[in-house]
C-alpha cells in the first residue's frame, strides 16, 4: 500500500517536471480548460439557453463531440488486437499509448454527456432508478464506465509493475485485455444503437450506422495514435520503431476505405430511392428549402477523407511527414462527419417538417474547447509519466530504495524530455 502511494506521489511530482515547451503547453491547456469551466458555470446559472440548441434541434455540439470521441476510444482496441491476437510484436511497445488515450478520451466523453444535462444536480437519479435494459442510454453508461475501468486497470497495472521493477503477471492483465477488445467494439455499437433505435428519426434509423461508426473509429483512433507516437519519439527518448507506425498506417488505410465504401452505400440508398426519408440527407449534402449551414462542412469533410485515403494508398505515405498529413486530414474529416454530420441533420427537418437550423454559441464552443483541452491535459500527463516509468528510468528501488539518511525526494533526477 505504502509503495502504491509512493507510486502515485512520484507520478504526481513527475507531471510537473519538464522543459519550457512542456510547461507552456500545459499552461495553455489549463487556461483553455478554465475558460470552459467559466462558460459552464454560466450555463449552470442560466440554463441550456446559453447554447444554440432549441426544441427543434435538441442535441448539438456536445453530443456530436461525444459521438466522435467514443470512436476515438477505439484506438486502444486497434492496437491491442494485432499484438495480442495476431502476435504482431512491432506494436507491443506502443499498446500502452492506445490504452492511455482510451482513458483520457472516455473521461472527455463523460464530461460531454454531463455538460449536456439540464439537471446535472440530479445525477444520482441514474443510480436510484436505472432504466436498464430498456433505455439504450443506460447501456451506454455501463459500456463507457466499464471501458474506463478496464483500461485504467490494464495501464495502471503495467505501469505500476514497471515502477516496482517486476514482470507483470499475465493472468492479472491478459484476460482484461481480451475483455477490453470486445468492450471497445461494444461501446461503439451501443452508442450507435442510441441513435439507430429511434423510429421517428429516419436519418438515424438505419442499420449501417453502427458499422460506419466502427469503420470511422478504427480510422480516426489509430491515426491519432500515429501522431502521438511521432511526438513521443521526437521529444522523449522512448524508442518507437518505424514498423509500428507502418502497421498502424495499414490499419488506417483499410478502415478509411471501408468507411468511404459505407458512406457511398448510404448516400446511394438515400438519393437513388428518393423517398420522403431523404429530407435530412438532402439537408446535409445539398441544403433544404434554402437552408444549408452544414453543406460546406460536410463537403470539406468528404474532401479531407478522400485526400487522406488517397495519400494513405500512395507509397508516399511511407514517408512519415506525408503520413502525418494524411492522419491529420482523416482525424478532422471524421470529426466533422461523425460529429456535426451525424447528429444535427437528424433534427432537420423536425418530425413535423419544420426546418430550423442550429448554430453553436460562443459559450457552447468554449465549453467544448475546455473539455478538449482538459482531455489533452490528462493524456499529456499520462504519457509524460508513463514514458520514463516504462523505460525503467523511474522505479521504486531507484527513488526510495537504498537507505541514505538526509536525502530529499528529487524527481528532477529523473531524466526528463
Amino acid at each position: 500500500m505504502k509503495r502504491y502511494l509512493a507510486f502515485l506521489w512520484d507520478c504526481f511530482r513527475l507531471s510537473f517536471v519538464g522543459d519550457w515547451r512542456y510547461h507552456l503547453w500545459m499552461a495553455i491547456l489549463t487556461a483553455v480548460a478554465l475558460g470552459g469551466v467559466y462558460a459552464y458555470c454560466h450555463q449552470l446559472v442560466h440554463g441550456l439557453v446559453t447554447t444554440g440548441m432549441t426544441d427543434q434541434v435538441s442535441w448539438g455540439l456536445y453530443i456530436a463531440n461525444f459521438t466522435y470521441l467514443v470512436g476515438l476510444a477505439a484506438a486502444a482496441a486497434m492496437l491491442v488486437i494485432p499484438v495480442y491476437v495476431y502476435r504482431n510484436l512491432h506494436l507491443h511497445d506502443v499498446v500502452i499509448f492506445g490504452e492511455l488515450l482510451a482513458v483520457a478520451v472516455i473521461v472527455m466523453c463523460l464530461l460531454f454527456v454531463t455538460v449536456d444535462l439540464g439537471r446535472p444536480d440530479r445525477f444520482l437519479h441514474l443510480l436510484l432508478r436505472f432504466n436498464f435494459p430498456i433505455s439504450m442510454l443506460t447501456w451506454d453508461v455501463i459500456a463507457l464506465n466499464g471501458y474506463l475501468l478496464l483500461n485504467l486497470h490494464i495501464c495502471g497495472y503495467l505501469i505500476y509493475c514497471a515502477y516496482c521493477g517486476r514482470t507483470p503477471v499475465k493472468s492479472f492483465y491478459i484476460p482484461f485485455v481480451f475483455v477490453a477488445i470486445a468492450w471497445a467494439i461494444s461501446i461503439h455499437t451501443v452508442t450507435a444503437f442510441l441513435y439507430v433505435g429511434l423510429g421517428g428519426r429516419p436519418f438515424w434509423n438505419s442499420a449501417i450506422i453502427a458499422p460506419r461508426f466502427l469503420a470511422s473509429a478504427f480510422a480516426a483512433g489509430p491515426a491519432f495514435i500515429i501522431l502521438t507516437l511521432q511526438i513521443v519519439r521526437h521529444y522523449t527518448r522512448h524508442r518507437v520503431a518505424d514498423d509500428a507506425l507502418l502497421t498502424l498506417r495499414r490499419i488506417v488505410q483499410v478502415a478509411m476505405i471501408i468507411n468511404l465504401f459505407l458512406l457511398a452505400c448510404e448516400v446511394f440508398t438515400e438519393f437513388y430511392a428518393d423517398t420522403r426519408h431523404l429530407a435530412s440527407a438532402h439537408y446535409l449534402y445539398l441544403g433544404l428549402h434554402g437552408r444549408n449551414a452544414l453543406v460546406p462542412w460536410i463537403w470539406v469533410a468528404i474532401g479531407m477523407n478522400l485526400v487522406a485515403t488517397a495519400l494513405l494508398m500512395l507509397p508516399a505515405s511511407r514517408s512519415l511527414r506525408t503520413l502525418n498529413t494524411a492522419c491529420l486530414l482523416a482525424i478532422v474529416g471524421i470529426w466533422i462527419e461523425k460529429g456535426m454530420g451525424l447528429i444535427i441533420p437528424a433534427f432537420v427537418p423536425t418530425p413535423l417538417g419544420e426546418v430550423v437550423e442550429y448554430l453553436p454559441t460562443m459559450h457552447e464552443t468554449l465549453i467544448c474547447l475546455g473539455i478538449w483541452a482538459f482531455g489533452l491535459l490528462v493524456y499529456t500527463i499520462l504519457v509524460r509519466v508513463s514514458v520514463p516509468v516504462l523505460a525503467g528510468e523511474l522505479t521504486h528501488a531507484r527513488r526510495w530504495g537504498s537507505p541514505a539518511p538526509g536525502a530529499v525526494p528529487a524527481p528532477r533526477s529523473v531524466p526528463s524530455s
Binding site: 441514474l126 429511434l198 521504486h396 530529499v408
Partner: protein, 338 residues
C-alpha cells in the same frame, strides 16, 4: 509493503537542495497567485446563482413519484405550494388526482372542421402555466396544402388572423399519448411513464434533462425548459397538479397530459373547451356510449405516422357531411381570431 524506515533517495545524483532563494520563492508565489485567481475567475459566474435555484435538501431527498408513500406525497405537494408562493407570490392548490378505474382517455380531432385559429394553443398555454419567455407551446397547428397530408409541405408560422384560407386545411398536433411510447422507452431514469388511463406523464422532479425523449418522439410533442420559465404576474392558473400543470423548473422536459388535473376529475381539456368549431372530441374509449367510441367505430379515421408503430391515443377524423370543405370555395371569410 515497503519498509517504512527507509528514507527516500535518488541514487547517483546529489540531492537537490530546496529552492529557498528569494527569486524562486517569488516566482512560485506568482504562479500560485495567478493560478488561484484564474480558478476563482472561472467559477465567478456562480455568484449569480439565486439561493432558490439551489436544490434544497428536501428536493435532493425526494423520492421518485412511484416510490412515494401518501405521507411523502403530501410533503411534496406542500413543498411545491411553498415554492410557487416564494417564486410567484401566488397561493395555488396542488393536487394529485389518481387515474380512474376503467378509463382510457382518447382524443379525436376533426380535420374537416378545424379552421386553424390557434385558440387551443393559447388556452393550453394559460391552463398549463406554460413559460411565456422562452415561449413554450404544447400544441402546434400545421397549415397544410390541400391535396397533401405531408407535414413537410406544411406552414407552421401562418398568420392566425387570416384563417381559414380556402386552399388550406389545418392539423393541430400535440402529444399523442402513444400506447407504445418511444419517449418512455428511452428515458434512462424512468422519469416518464404511461399511467393506467393511458396518459404519458413526467415527474419534473426526477427528470435529469438529457432530452433523449425529445429526440425519440415522432410527433415533436415534448418541450424542454432551456431557461427558467417566465410566467407573468397574475397569470398563473392556481389549480395545479403534481404530474401536469404545476410551474416547472428549468432544465427539465414537459409535455401535454390531456389536462389530467381536469380530465381525471370529470372536466374536459382546456383546448377542447375553447375550440369554436367543435373539432375536438375527448373521452373514455372503454365506455361504449362515449362520443370517441362512436367516432372510432363509425367515422373515417386517420392516424398520423401510423407507420412508426406508436399506437397513438390521439387520432384525426373526417366528416362525410358538414365539412367546411363541402361549401363552395370562396374568398376567405373575415374571421377574427387570436
Amino acid at each position: 509493503m515497503a519498509d517504512a524506515s527507509r528514507q527516500p533517495v535518488a541514487p547517483g545524483t546529489p540531492p537537490n537542495p530546496p529552492d529557498m532563494s528569494r527569486r524562486g520563492f517569488l516566482a512560485k508565489g506568482g504562479v500560485a497567485v495567478a493560478g488561484l485567481s484564474a480558478l476563482a475567475a472561472a467559477f465567478s459566474p456562480l455568484r449569480h446563482l439565486a439561493p432558490e435555484d439551489l436544490p434544497s435538501l428536501e428536493d435532493f431527498l425526494q423520492k421518485h413519484y412511484k416510490e412515494m408513500t401518501p405521507a411523502d406525497k403530501d410533503r411534496a405537494l406542500a413543498r411545491i405550494r411553498g415554492q410557487v408562493r416564494r417564486r410567484h407570490r401566488v397561493e395555488v392548490r396542488v393536487t394529485d388526482p389518481p387515474p380512474l378505474d376503467g378509463v382510457e382517455f382518447v382524443y379525436g380531432l376533426n380535420i374537416s372542421r378545424c379552421i386553424g385559429c390557434r385558440r387551443c394553443v393559447h388556452a393550453c398555454v394559460q391552463e398549463n402555466n406554460l413559460s411565456r419567455s422562452p415561449e413554450i407551446q404544447y400544441i402546434r397547428v400545421l397549415e397544410m396544402e390541400k391535396g397533401s397530408i405531408d407535414v413537410e409541405s406544411s406552414d407552421h408560422h401562418y398568420a392566425s388572423a387570416q384563417v381559414p384560407r380556402p386552399d388550406k386545411w389545418y392539423m393541430p398536433v400535440q402529444c399523442h399519448q402513444c400506447a407504445n411510447p418511444p419517449c418512455v422507452k428511452v428515458c434512462p431514469v424512468e422519469a416518464t411513464w404511461q399511467e393506467p388511463d393511458g396518459l404519458v406523464v413526467i415527474d419534473y422532479d426526477w427528470c435529469i434533462g438529457c432530452r433523449y425523449c425529445e429526440a425519440a418522439c415522432p410527433y415533436w410533442a415534448r418541450r424542454f425548459n432551456f431557461a427558467e420559465p417566465q410566467l407573468p404576474e397574475g397569470s398563473i392558473n392556481p389549480n395545479v397538479s403534481y404530474l401536469s400543470n404545476r410551474p416547472r423548473p428549468k432544465g427539465v422536459m414537459e409535455k401535454c397530459t390531456f389536462c389530467l388535473h381536469r380530465t381525471r376529475v370529470g372536466r374536459l381539456p382546456a383546448c377542447l373547451e375553447v375550440c369554436p368549431t367543435g373539432s375536438r372530441k375527448f373521452g373514455n374509449v372503454l365506455d361504449p356510449n362515449s362520443e370517441v367510441h362512436y367516432i372510432l367505430k363509425h367515422k373515417r379515421v386517420y392516424v398520423l405516422k401510423e407507420d412508426v408503430g406508436t399506437l397513438p391515443r390521439f387520432f384525426y377524423y373526417f366528416d362525410e357531411r358538414g365539412s367546411r370543405y363541402a361549401e363552395p370555395p370562396g374568398p376567405a371569410r373575415p374571421q377574427e381570431a387570436s
